[in-house]
């Protein structure tokens, strides 16, 4: 038990984010809220730089609890970049009397610590701690719109179901420990390799594995465990929905990728069928239900389910190639989702819900997030129209955008495994996806509507443009992560 200097100095992002979260809490005691947003962005930039200090090396920290390698650093980078963009879209919080921006930003930074633990865990205890840090923060932020009934409902639903899923996850971890005698990923992997060769009963191991997978699949909202997603994403404030559907999903898939590739690759033949069934269900339910939504925000919730399905394809076709594929897909998906939510927040803010149209729902929702709100948007606001159109194209997977290459890479990872029937389903469902993503584009460009010119703050505008440019640039640079991992 010696006090090693590298042990505590190198896991910098986690330490920096924790400390800056505490600093933000105390910054909130100032009268002026003007400093909060720049401070948060500064902290995120520092953490982003600190994250890449270890580039090219592989380290194990805190007595084999956390691993840092290039893959983990890339996922952490994606998560930090997404958070940076989400936070920079939050300028209106400073003017909101009910909001408490200092606490929100602090909770976001704390939840990032959990996300980074989920990305780099080497010990299942770290996975559990990371999942809990991230989830508890999300429960709070979901209910942060305290005067909105739907936000309260969403928070309660998310909390109850999330706590239940965490219980299943923990039970799975306990059973895995009972079967293998180890919490360490490589230890469990060694057991899986040797026990399958030796023969004999592995019932305890398999039950534990599936319970752990169920817990994780719940967190990324894959199909039989997706029921919380639409209500929670719809009820939460749009800002935090954007955060949930990007950062939480990226971290969840990084964790799934890590545990499947390190611990369970030895029993691939056993779990891939189950994962393939989950994938097909997720794709079908996510895409087909999204078609029937009248609310854009609810459609984005189902869209996030369907993208979980595409990411799962990368896991079913588990290979060395699926690591950069999932990282690239997460980045592409995050960029377009944040841009879409950015435009949605602007549009919805300028359109308080019309009581005559939606009847008694006014008491539930404060703003109009339906497709109709986008009617004729592009005429007066060409920039917003273009940003939204590019992000929809990217989510639909049209070539020359990042989303196309993301889909291409996860599909080719699965094709290498010979799962052609899975790809047929996926491609068909992408075609369905084009329908509901293009509804917004059609509403913006071809429908008549009374939309005024929407005032966009300069920084907000820069972030929207940056997300769009990055989406298009990644569409031309698909090999971004190829040689790095």
């Amino acid at each position: 038990m010696t006090f090693q200097t590298y042990d505590c100095l190198q896991m910098l992002p986690i330490i920096l984010l924790s400390l800056s979260g505490i600093a933000l809490l105390f910054l909130g005691f100032q009268k002026s809220r003007a400093l909060l947003l720049p401070a948060t962005l500064l902290f995120l930039v520092i953490a982003f730089v600190a994250n890449f200090l270890d580039w090219g090396k592989t380290y194990m920290y805190f007595r084999d609890m956390l691993l840092v390698n290039n893959l983990a650093m890339i996922f952490t980078g994606v998560v930090l970049l997404s958070t940076f963009m989400v936070v920079s879209l939050s300028g209106s919080l400073a003017d909101d009397e009910d909001a408490q921006p200092a606490e929100y930003y602090a909770i976001l930074l704390f939840s990032l610590v959990g996300a980074i633990m989920m990305i780099g865990f080497e010990n299942l205890i770290m996975l559990f701690v990371g999942v809990e840090i991230l989830s508890v923060a999300m429960y709070i932020l979901t209910g942060s719109d305290k005067r909105n009934l739907r936000s309260n409902e969403a928070a309660l639903k998310y909390f109850l179901m999330g706590a239940f899923a965490t219980g299943i996850l923990l039970f799975g971890i306990a059973l895995l420990y009972g079967a293998t005698g180890s919490f360490v990923l490589s230890g469990i992997g060694n057991y899986a390799h040797s026990a399958t060769n030796a023969g004999g009963s592995m019932l305890l191991f398999y039950v534990g594995m599936f319970m752990l997978l169920i817990g994780m699949l719940f967190k990324v909202s894959a199909a039989p465990f997706h029921f919380w997603t639409p209500d929670v994403y719809d009820g939460a404030p749009s800002l935090f929905t954007a955060y949930m559907s990007t950062v939480v999903k990226t971290a969840g898939f990084a964790a799934l990728l890590r545990i499947l590739s390190v611990s369970f690759s030895g029993v691939y033949d056993f779990w891939w069928v189950a994962m393939a069934v989950v994938t097909v269900l997720t794709l079908l339910i996510g895409n087909i239900t999204a078609v029937y939504q009248a609310s854009f925000k609810r459609m984005m919730a189902y869209s996030s389910i369907s993208h979980a399905g595409y990411l799962l394809i990368g896991l079913v076709g588990l290979s060395q190639a699926s690591k950069p594929a999932i990282a690239f897909y997460s980045l592409a998906y995050s960029l377009s989702t944040i841009a879409a939510f950015g435009v949605l927040m602007l549009v919805a803010r300028n359109r308080p819900l019309n009581a005559a149209v939606f009847g008694d729902q006014t008491t539930l929702a404060r703003t109009d997030e339906h497709y109709d709100a986008f009617n004729g948007l592009a005429r007066k606001n060409p920039l917003l129209g273009f940003v939204m159109a590019v992000s929809m194209l990217s989510l639909a997977g049209i070539p020359l955008t990042a989303g196309f290459w993301g889909k291409f890479m996860v599909f080719s990872a699965a094709a290498d495994r010979g799962a052609v029937w899975l790809l047929v389903v996926a491609v068909l469902m992408s075609a369905v996806g084009i329908y509901y993503y293009f509804r917004v584009v059609i509403a913006m460009y071809f429908r008549e509507g009374q939309t005024d010119t929407i005032r966009v703050a300069p920084f907000y505008r820069i972030v929207l443009i940056a997300a769009t440019v990055l989406t298009l640039a990644l569409g031309l640079l698909p090999n971004l992560f190829q040689g790095l991992i």
Binding site: M1, T2, F3, I22, L25, F26, F29
Partner: protein, 159 residues
């Protein structure tokens, strides 16, 4: 109470209890002999647990039945009232309670847990040395920062 123990002794139940313990011990060693070859636990290894469980459940059920059936029953308004620290009850259980009670309860749990961490550290203070001390200072520092935040937020102000 002494009379109860004397009756217990006279009826020879202490021997029964001792026999029960011996029986469990014998069963345990017998079963462990059985399972020695496989070096893993058999379902039959859990028999003592089930005996223990049924005894615990049986004790509860028997005491509940006996107390309900043996004792005399006298009803009155005062006797049938829910009893809480001797204070007259007000309203029903769903009456809204100030959120401050909840916050104080949460804070209590937080500092309770903190003390649980302090005890093992205090016992092993010398062995843990400088590293343990630094870790405990960090832990306490973070906790006190949170406590200061709570006070500044006015959570403990009761007007």
């Amino acid at each position: 109470m002494e009379g109860f123990f004397m009756a217990f002794y006279r009826m020879g139940w202490h021997r029964t209890a001792a026999n029960y313990v011996r029986f469990i011990a014998n069963l345990r060693s017998f079963l462990s002999l059985l399972s020695m070859n496989t070096a893993s636990y058999l379902p039959s290894d859990y028999i003592p647990i089930f005996i223990q469980l049924s005894l615990a459940l049986g004790f509860i059920v028997v005491t509940m039945l006996v107390t309900h059936n043996i004792g005399p029953k006298r009803h009155s308004v005062k006797k049938d009232d829910p009893f809480e620290c001797g204070i007259p009850t007000q309203g029903d259980a769903r009456a809204p309670i100030s959120i401050k009670y909840f916050l104080v309860a949460i804070l209590f749990v937080l500092f309770d847990v903190e003390v649980i961490f302090m005890y093992p550290w205090a016992v092993n203070f010398m062995q843990l040395g400088q590293e343990g001390f630094i870790q405990m200072v960090l832990f306490m520092g973070l906790l006190l920062a949170g406590f200061y935040y709570v006070i500044r937020k006015g959570v403990l102000k009761w007007e």
